[in-house]
């Protein structure tokens, strides 16, 4: 098999993982994954449950630090800087590499507060007026402004599931991240809400590097330009999305996308 992945190697990738291994105690969850993430493309991680795609996603902004038994080997860089180096501040890293979770998890505070919280703790707003601007801009980018502009003081938890997830995206956008990681952002949403999120991902592409984990292969095909197929902790295949779905090079990829297992 001739693997021509040269076309995917970028000169200056936004994020780059080299031979990353993740262990939970003695159990190895990720077995040497190397991948580049750039700003111009949405990257999708697909694979069956338990294949390690979410685990790998969480190593990209060190959310795995909260799991006491987790251990990461290898190198992950953000703008050429190793994010696991002792000099890297994890709080700043997570502001630069934002995250949207599987289940919408707005804070039990007002819509305004949900957006304003991040900019406030990072000192991004100079005064109330500036904060208002940030909140409006973030909500507009999240495609939620028109729906909530008259009730910014309502609780964020009173919104519908799809609105809550867009609020969470807006919350991540508000701190001006460079990369946004999305961990199955639509798995708890209905098809209409899902369509809205996918539309939003299209609009955000280019401004932010986006990595999305999804169970849904059609979704990966719709929203991404690059797709990585994970299986049993290995990165089986990484390529241009249309190639992966129409012309997979690996037998396992082919089996998975044709529904043979997963």
């Amino acid at each position: 098999m001739t693997q021509e992945q040269t076309d995917l190697t970028i000169a200056n990738p936004k994020m780059s993982a080299r031979d990353v291994k993740v262990f939970y105690g003695p159990k190895q969850a990720i077995k040497g994954v190397s991948i580049d993430v750039d700003m111009d493309h949405v990257t999708a991680f697909i694979g069956p449950s338990g294949c390690g795609k979410s685990t790998f996603l969480r190593t990209l902004n060190r959310m795995n630090d909260t799991v006491a038994s987790a251990r990461v080997e290898g190198e992950i860089t953000l703008d050429g800087e190793n994010i696991y180096a002792p000099t890297m501040d994890v709080v700043q890293l997570r502001a630069r590499v934002g995250m949207v979770f599987q289940k919408p998890n707005p804070f039990p505070k007002s819509i305004y507060e949900n957006i304003a919280y991040g900019p406030r703790i990072h000192g991004l707003a100079a005064g109330k007026a500036d904060m208002d601007v940030i909140v409006e801009k973030s909500l507009r980018r999240a495609g939620l402004w028109d729906e909530v502009k008259d009730r910014l003081n309502d609780s964020g938890t009173a919104l519908s599931g799809g609105q809550q997830q867009r609020l969470c995206i807006g919350r991540a956008i508000a701190v001006e991240p460079e990369v946004i990681l999305m961990d199955e952002p639509c798995s708890a949403l209905d098809p209409i809400a899902t369509a809205k999120i996918e539309e939003l991902i299209h609009e955000l592409r280019g401004r932010y590097g986006i990595v999305i984990v999804t169970h849904n292969m059609q979704q990966a095909a719709r929203v991404s330009q690059r797709t990585a197929f994970f299986h049993l902790g290995e990165l089986v295949e990484y390529g241009v999305t249309s190639d992966i779905f129409t012309n997979p090079r690996q037998e396992r990829t082919k089996d998975y996308i044709t529904g043979r297992y997963g």
Binding site: N61, M63, T66, A68, V91, Q92, L93, R94, A95, R96, G98, M99, V100, F101, K103, N105, P106, F107, P108, Y117, G118, I121, H122, S155, T157, C168, R171, A172, A174, V175
Partner: protein, 414 residues
């Protein structure tokens, strides 16, 4: 050969019986629950009824209208120079006795409370002009008269009451003295204020010590402590501390705070410190449970936009856990408020006739005061004991009410 299974007959007798049994079980369970509730309600009603019956009398007192002819009395006071010193030197108790003998006849000393002169002093202080005329002043009656007038006293006292009633000088007034005075030797002069203030100060010390320490411990154990053998030992120790009999904490306070640190004896400070030892484990346990109940997704959300662990704890976890922590704190404080045994060990059972001025002054607390009065021989203390219990219960109810208010205020609706 396998037997052919017939389709289930949902209408068969066995089925019907099973259904009837199921309904019967449910009915019996409901009845048992109802009976339990009724029984506890009956006990509570009985308790409240007897307490109120006895205790409410403690808030009233029998008064005798004493007509004082000031110009004719042996009182030597200049109406234009009424000072506390002049009043103190005027020998009012003696004058009151003589005036009473003239006005009421009989053994006047046995009719009036030993504190009757205070009413006269206060009347003069309020309006010195009465010194030049005859004035009727209501003074508290003695314990014997008070008891005979309110319920049942000795035959002699009953006779005196009948005589006084005929003179039309007996009346019933609210015993403000009970709410403003402290412990005393005569039931007509005792009050609850000293013990109430002592309880207030003790609770304040307890709260200020146990709440921050308890919450900080709970936060550390839940959010920061590694899972290791020594955190397991701490956890087991705290759970055990919550179950230690309270008198042991009293002994601990005695040996450490008094004998080792030589802090002031009988003071609210020591009482508060001892009770804080007892309350803290309760707050830690309730706090840990409340913190555990905060959904992990909120932690993820905050961490995911770059909140530091301290920001996550203080801006997200703690506010969400606060209602639960407050509930635990109030349960602990309510228990501490009613606690008697450990305070006896550190000398808070002393006879203290002045309210404490601060946390280092000798003080007593409501439950100890109740315990002390219940031990008194004089019959007048019975109603005072019940009245003090009512004050304690009202204090408890107020505290619980505050807790419910705070919990609802901070509760987050999802």
């Amino acid at each position: 050969m396998t037997a052919q299974r017939l389709p289930t007959d949902w209408k068969s007798d066995a089925m019907r019986k099973r259904i009837a049994r199921r309904y019967g079980a449910e009915r019996r369970f409901k009845l048992a629950g109802l009976a339990a509730v009724a029984l506890s309600a009956a006990f509570l009603a009985f308790l409240l009824f007897t307490m109120m019956g006895n205790g409410l009398r403690g808030f009233t007192r029998t008064e005798i209208a004493l007509t004082v002819d000031f110009p004719a009395s042996p009182l030597l006071l200049d109406p234009n120079a009424i000072t506390d010193e002049a009043l103190a030197n005027a020998n009012l108790p003696m004058v009151t006795g003589e005036v009473a003998k003239k006005a009421l006849g009989g053994d006047a000393d046995a009719l009036l409370s030993p504190t009757a002169w205070i009413s006269i002093r206060d009347a003069i202080k309020a309006d010195p002009k009465i010194l030049s005329r005859t004035e009727t002043i209501r003074v508290p009656a003695s314990t014997a008269i008070d008891l005979a007038a309110k319920s049942k006293g000795s035959p002699e006292a009953e006779a005196e009451v009948a005589r006084l009633k005929q003179q039309g000088v007996l009346s019933t007034g609210i015993n403000w003295n009970f709410l403003t005075a402290s412990d005393g030797t005569d039931p007509t002069q005792v009050g609850i204020w000293g013990a109430f203030k002592g309880s207030l100060l003790t609770m304040l010390v307890t709260l200020l010590l146990s709440f921050p320490v308890g919450v900080a411990t709970a936060l550390y154990l839940e959010e920061y402590a590694p899972k290791a053998w020594w955190t397991d030992i701490i956890e087991v120790s705290i759970n055990n501390l919550a179950a230690v009999p309270s008198i042991i904490f009293g002994l601990l306070g005695l040996s450490i705070f008094l004998n080792f640190l030589h802090l002031p004896r009988s003071a609210a400070l020591i009482g508060g410190m001892t009770l804080a030892l007892m309350t803290m484990p309760v707050i830690v346990i309730a706090g840990r449970n409340a913190i555990k109940a905060v959904p992990p997704s909120i932690r993820d959300a905050a961490l995911g936009i770059g909140a530091s662990p301290v920001q996550v704890v203080f801006q997200h976890v703690l506010p969400l856990a606060l209602p639960g922590i407050l509930t635990g704190t109030i349960i602990g404080m309510a228990r501490a408020l009613g606690e008697t045994a450990p305070l006896l060990m550190i000398g808070m059972r002393a006879f203290i006739a002045t309210p404490p001025g601060g946390i280092t002054d000798p003080a007593t607390v409501l439950p100890v005061q109740i315990f002390l009065w219940s031990d008194e021989v004089s019959k007048g203390f019975v109603e005072k004991t019940s009245a003090a219990i009512i004050v304690l219960l009202v204090f408890l109810l107020a505290m619980n009410g505050l807790a419910i208010y705070l919990r609802n205020k901070f509760e987050t609706r999802w």
